[in-house]
Symmetry: C2
Subunit: 421 residues, 2 copies
Amino acid sequence: MTAEIICVGTEILLGNIVNTNAAYLAEKLAASGLDCYYQTVVGDNAERLAGVLKCAMERSDVILLSGGLGPTEDDLTKETVAKVCGKKLSVDDHSMERIAEFFAVRDIQPTENNWKQAMVPEGAKVLDNDNGTAPGIILETEKNRIVLLPGPPAELIPMFEQQVISYLDALTPGVICSRMVKLCGVSESQVEDTLKDLIDGQTNPTIATYAKTGEVHIRVTASGENAKAAGKTIKPIVKELKSRFGGDIYSTREETTLEMAVADLLLANDLTVTTAESCTGGMIAARIINVPGVSECYKAGLVTYSNKAKRKFLGVRKSTLDKYGAVSSKTAGEMAKGAALLLKADVAVAVTGIAGPDGGTEEKPVGLVYIGCCVKGELTVKEYHFSGTRSQIREATTSAALILMRSCILKYFSKVTFGKK
Amino acid sequence: MTAEIICVGTEILLGNIVNTNAAYLAEKLAASGLDCYYQTVVGDNAERLAGVLKCAMERSDVILLSGGLGPTEDDLTKETVAKVCGKKLSVDDHSMERIAEFFAVRDIQPTENNWKQAMVPEGAKVLDNDNGTAPGIILETEKNRIVLLPGPPAELIPMFEQQVISYLDALTPGVICSRMVKLCGVSESQVEDTLKDLIDGQTNPTIATYAKTGEVHIRVTASGENAKAAGKTIKPIVKELKSRFGGDIYSTREETTLEMAVADLLLANDLTVTTAESCTGGMIAARIINVPGVSECYKAGLVTYSNKAKRKFLGVRKSTLDKYGAVSSKTAGEMAKGAALLLKADVAVAVTGIAGPDGGTEEKPVGLVYIGCCVKGELTVKEYHFSGTRSQIREATTSAALILMRSCILKYFSKVTFGKK
């Protein structure tokens, strides 16, 4: 079964916003086992939208539309879809009540326009919107299944997860299940090389890799008669991935981020942690603190951007700075040790580097970064060479720092057998 | 003249990556005065790409394609475009030399595949790629202008800026110029209300608003016979915007970010700055440090996530924490004052808040944030109520902190007359 995505919105056509809905829906379609061959963006224009929709209805079975369900005159996705499918719009009492309630709870007076959002094509299934006033709609024709979703991701995503995924899953025979395996510290090409024999000629399960900064995610997807059967198909592949990648796998859960995995490791081992950052200037701390409940292990950290601050707070020696420079393995090491001492933390990570665009020399080019990690007095310092813009170098450094922390803690506790690199 | 965008890549269809190229190209097309009514994504599949291309060639004048110019067999954008346009591919010696040089400089042996990238449709204009091996291509047919660009943004963007914008500008009669006016601390609806009379019935210049976290950007675009004429059309509107929004405008330059504007203000007034962050955990420092050359004014900062750290480093009083709690106006104020003192900084900004998802109470709900800013001993503390996910609340807090810093510095120096809020 094939599907395609149509995103409606002049703000996307003008480049005002990045089309994250398309990426979200695309990943979900793939996970549901539907083949998606096209994504289209079209403005809030009835004629052009109708043209795009007719073309999609010819070539695909399922069509997901997002956007254009708002209360204003510009919003005409629902009206256009109904017209193309030859359906009339009529008031849906249930949606009417929900819209009234939405405004009552917020103590706001709805405008006349808002009631337009309760109009639904005849025979359509209504999807409740828990985070806004525009209900979603599923309209089935002889050939197509058309799903209308609100544009704002905060409304679209919960609606999709709660009400659309199960609908799509039921369209394909049997069920589709998938399992995420998340790796850090390996490149996508390394992963693809290692998986080549598994990926070649794959049918069920399928293996797809997704590259993120410092990370590679592998999704294993299988179809089966039921969840148990699909799970049975996935299991040996996940086992094989574990044996091939070992300690490079930081999680096999969809929701777990790298910083969550690091925080879990800290909390599980009763370790406190601190950060001392130069070129990343707070980005490592910010990512760790994005994990809810991390206050148990993260008490405080420092941004020491100047040499003076590195000396004053972290006790980096003047002789070290003079002899080796601020961007050096020695300085990174002293920063990590100094931070651990000052903040009485079990684990300290410290970074110093040249993020550019200026400040590079032949000897120390832009992108040169040193990261030091101290676990209960045991120090590791690594040298890195990143490329890209200032932001990209800082982001790559942040990920590398989390990855180094993770591997140093694991090494210290030797609780995990490391796989081949 | 109309244009459309076709992005080629199975990784976009699978939701592996977000299509930022489309947003980038869309904004540039709008700035060039070309009307873009469609964006399409299609996989690396010759038949489907040909279908999409033929449809685009029917309905639009200019077609921008990105992706599928790589060296592998999967990459077939160039081959497909040539076939649809009835053009043969032949070796381009200039591109051949550049590819050879690209590898020689990097001391890498090119593979047989790489030479495929030097093949160019007959009669096409070649666009040099300074950041990769795939040259760009402009192919003109009787009806269409087709521009082929490499997929990686690090290759696409410089190529587009240096070689394509001038080409597109020359297609429309006269020139299109635009000017960006960037505001902070006002909502998009406030801006739209204030601009309603200017936006209604606009033709030349046009005014478009773009909402970002804590910011609104207004782009004024005008066409004219030449740059001088277009500039003359834009000037009175920019003047009007300045008179309507006054001090809420932080820049009228495209490249200037909010953190750059704050850094400029600090540097211009010889002020040093520090940060003391609780719920944002380093995000404010990270944004300030994203400005190159900011080391002149930013020496060091603190992440004080625990109460103990707030007391130990910033000297927040135990009685304050006991009586008012960590998330209180009092604590934010003492944090800012303490940070200024500890780090001997002219300006200190401090935040404390509840980012969620847990930790909220009826009295202090998730999203409650206090930001304190101290400028040469003068303290301002403000209360905020943000909504959304933990990340969204932290991002909104970070922007609000930069905005508060800016307004406190301006107030202190009273160098700018404030416009109405």
